[in-house]
């Protein structure tokens, strides 16, 4: 059936320059309208849209989306060509300065009695902007104060991958999902466990993803939240997998038969012998490095270090996905 119109059912039309999609949790879906000026937002909206992964059903996209996509193509480095193998380091170097806005400029201030609790979020994006569209009587927000809020992220549009930017505060609907406050309080006060085992379990603020490598006998897990950018991730992975060779496994720290060392592995990665790919929320395999770091950590389900030869014909990258849908 066709998706329902994405209207706030009280009849207020949604006014949203910062569209959030279901897949896209790091976008500033919170009520960040007052805190930033319009320019910032537009610029951020540009960047967000270009990389937004949406279930864009025909006719459901906002009219201005097509142009934006075209515009931002130019921002990408030239090495981006469909199907091309790209070394991981290409991705890193090409990107360093560009993603600093971190999509997370959302301050979660509710604009006083703004309507955080009311924005409908239809499928496939164009979801509610929790702006001051709050309907009359949405003072439910007043009692929402303090509930389910993440620490407000400073609104920065600066470049550089700034670790200080917390993941975008997602504006929350009061009392949704229906989890008893007792449970929320209990879970919140549980201290994060000390993990002697680096491959420990989940908890607040951890984002463990499995990393597999072709030819390796077992998986590893990394906590994406402990890294600030692609460079850090890549060196961590290199350390983790340096004992493995293609089709062989040396013991930890001891170079394998081919004399692989850390630097050799790096060479491998950089020289496109291996490519680092990840599976995103849609289940598609993408090359690592296309999207802003925060976006990557939010959509990355697991990682796979793939042989370069296997990477030909890889699913289109995020950019392509966007393009194909517009």
């Amino acid at each position: 059936m066709s998706p329902p119109l994405e209207h706030d059912y009280i009849g207020l039309s949604e006014i949203s320059t910062m569209e959030s999609s279901d897949k896209f949790s790091s976008s500033a879906s919170s009520s960040a309208t007052v805190a930033e000026d319009a320019d910032d937002r537009r610029r951020q909206a540009l960047n967000l849209k270009e990389t937004e992964l949406r279930l864009g059903l025909p006719g459901s996209e906002s009219p201005d989306r097509k142009e934006k996509v075209g515009l931002t193509l130019g921002l990408l480095p030239k090495s981006f060509v469909s199907g091309a193998k790209r070394g991981f380091s290409d991705a890193i170097d090409g990107r360093a300065g560009e993603w600093g806005f971190a999509g997370g400029a959302g301050s979660e201030g509710e604009l006083g009695k703004g309507g955080v609790s009311f924005s409908p979020r239809g499928e496939g994006g164009a979801g509610g902007q929790h702006s001051g569209q709050g309907s009359a009587g949405k003072d439910a927000v007043a009692k929402a104060a303090g509930q389910e809020k993440k620490a407000p992220a400073p609104a920065q549009a600066s470049g550089g991958s700034d670790r200080g930017i917390a993941p975008a505060a997602k504006a929350q609907v009061v009392g949704w999902p229906p989890i008893r406050s007792y449970r929320k309080n209990t879970m919140a006060t549980n201290p994060l466990k000390n993990k002697e085992d680096a491959e420990g379990k989940h908890g607040f603020g951890c984002l463990y993803v499995k990393v597999s490598m072709d030819g390796a006998p077992y998986l590893r897990k990394v906590d994406l939240k402990t890294y600030n950018n692609y460079k850090e991730l890549s060196s961590a992975l290199e350390k983790m997998f340096s004992c493995f060779t293609i089709g062989q496994c040396g013991s930890h720290g001891i170079p394998g038969r081919d004399g692989l060392s850390e630097s050799r592995l790096m060479d491998l990665l950089n020289g496109s012998e291996f490519v680092l790919t990840y599976e995103d929320k849609d289940g598609d395999w993408m090359l690592v490095g296309d999207v802003p770091w925060e976006m990557f950590t939010d959509s990355c389900r697991r990682l796979r270090i793939m042989k370069g030869s296997d990477a030909i014909g890889l699913a289109p990258t995020a950019m392509e996905k966007c393009k194909n849908r517009s």
Binding site: E123, A140, G175, P177
Partner: protein, 603 residues
Amino acid sequence: MREGRSSEMSDEEPPGGGGPPPPFSDQVLENVLESVLQFLDCRRDRNAASLVCRSWCRAEGQTRRELFIGNCYAVSPARAVERFPRVRALVLKGKPRFADFELVPAGWGAGFSPWLAALATSNPWLERLCLKRMSVSDADLSRLARSFPSFRDLTLICCDGFGTVGLAAIAEHCRHLRVLDLIENDVEDQGLDWVSRFPESTTSLESLVFDCVGCEVNMDALEALVARSPSLRRLRVNQRVSVRQLRSLMVRAPQLSDLGTGSFGEGGEVGEGEGEVEVADLEAAFAASRSLVCLSGFRNHAPQFIPAIYPVCANLISLNLGYSVITAEELEPVIIHCHNLQTFWVLDTVHDEGLQAVAATCKDLRELRVFPLDGTEDSEGFVSDIGLIAISEGCPKLRSILYFCHGMTNAAVVSMSKNCPELVVFRLCIMGLRRPDRLTGEAMDEGFGAIVMNCKKLTRLAVSGLLTDKAFLYIGKYGKSVRTLSVAFAGNSDSGLRYVLEGCPKLQKLEIRDSPFGDAALLSGLHHYYSMRFLWMSSCKLSIRGCKEVAQRLPHLVVEVIRDRPEKDDDEAIDDGEAVETLYMYRSLAGPRDDAPRFVKIL
């Protein structure tokens, strides 16, 4: 009236003359009735019996020992106590359920004091009390402890207003206390050492549940208490109790059948000469607890201790890991032994694989609850339709499920409806607002439709995801046994609510939020509201006008409009066209309550 019978009775006179005159025939009748009726336990049967005639009503009232009041405002305390003067056990429920999710402002009501006052003055035989979502003060608890000499069982669920001071009063003055169960209450930490207040002698304690009490307890006192409570079968400690301390308790109470393990991790003071507990010692303690069938806690567990519970897994009927951040890898070696498990609560951190492991082993599973670690709508999902299908295929006896997920498919829900015909409670929470079927993009109408169609015993249903009026059409058409329905962010028009109000004859509790139902839909239920315990509608499309009309047409309904602007002058005339933020209405014999706060307007 049974005139014929009473004349028969009057023929029976005691032999011989000069004795006392025969009892008045009606009185004899009632005495006989009472003797018979005291065997009736089920409150629904009793309600039916009381409707036969006045004398039956009286007799039933005299003999009712257990009183259940689902809405504390439905009847006045005085009236309840007058009709049921010999009640031994009382269950009282207060605030609407959505108060758990911060949708009811503080100070709304449901105070226990008036009930306590009525009971204390006229019914000293009270033995058992269970309060849910009521406000209970320390003074109340203190009075409670002193007013009822035979008082034995106190259960408080989701209550607030009291702290360790009240607990101390209970411990100290209820000399025959058997049960002190504190479940998910908001307990104030006043620093009082209430555990030390229990009588020094052997106690009759059977159940002590205090996992919601946040403050530390005196472990020496607790150990001593456990040691002198030979009848203790249930003990659930709070997360301040370390695994080492837990072990000390366990060795003193090997007869326990129900254990709440507290943190199950390190921490707590390590006394002089004591080392950290060894896993082997802990395992020995579990092995010695041969009666243990119910396990919970694990609030902050250390993974190395989990294997200690292996000895009891095969006996477990109930396992609550709902506060325990545990992965599939950690769960599997535990669950594989739990063949007899009937109740399982867990966090979604176990993923679909974890649920598959559950489905593979727990063939007797009756109740499953999967809670989200991260309740935000957009966070990465941990369980999905895959887990649901696995459970449906592995656990055909399933009766009750509460499942939080981020994505779901109609196919999975349909599959559950077909594989689990015993379902009585189906609560699915797709956390993203109005999420469609994650594979087909369709609304979730067909899935929930299948549930009401195929699960003939279904009495409680909570829906979520993208739902059109069609879903409600199905519910109205097939949900003939549904008593409780929870709706959020669903439906297209008034028709949705109308289908339900017109189609579900057994509906008693209806709670709706953020759905486009307006006055016309509200008015379509007038024929039914007296049969319902309550109706809650928040952030819908109601206006004062519609609510007023209901209030006028149904005088025994209390129609509360709850606003979020407490500072507004409550004398201010309300505009009929004003939108109603929250409507909470319920039938009542007591009329409008006199303790309504300023933000509540009773129409």
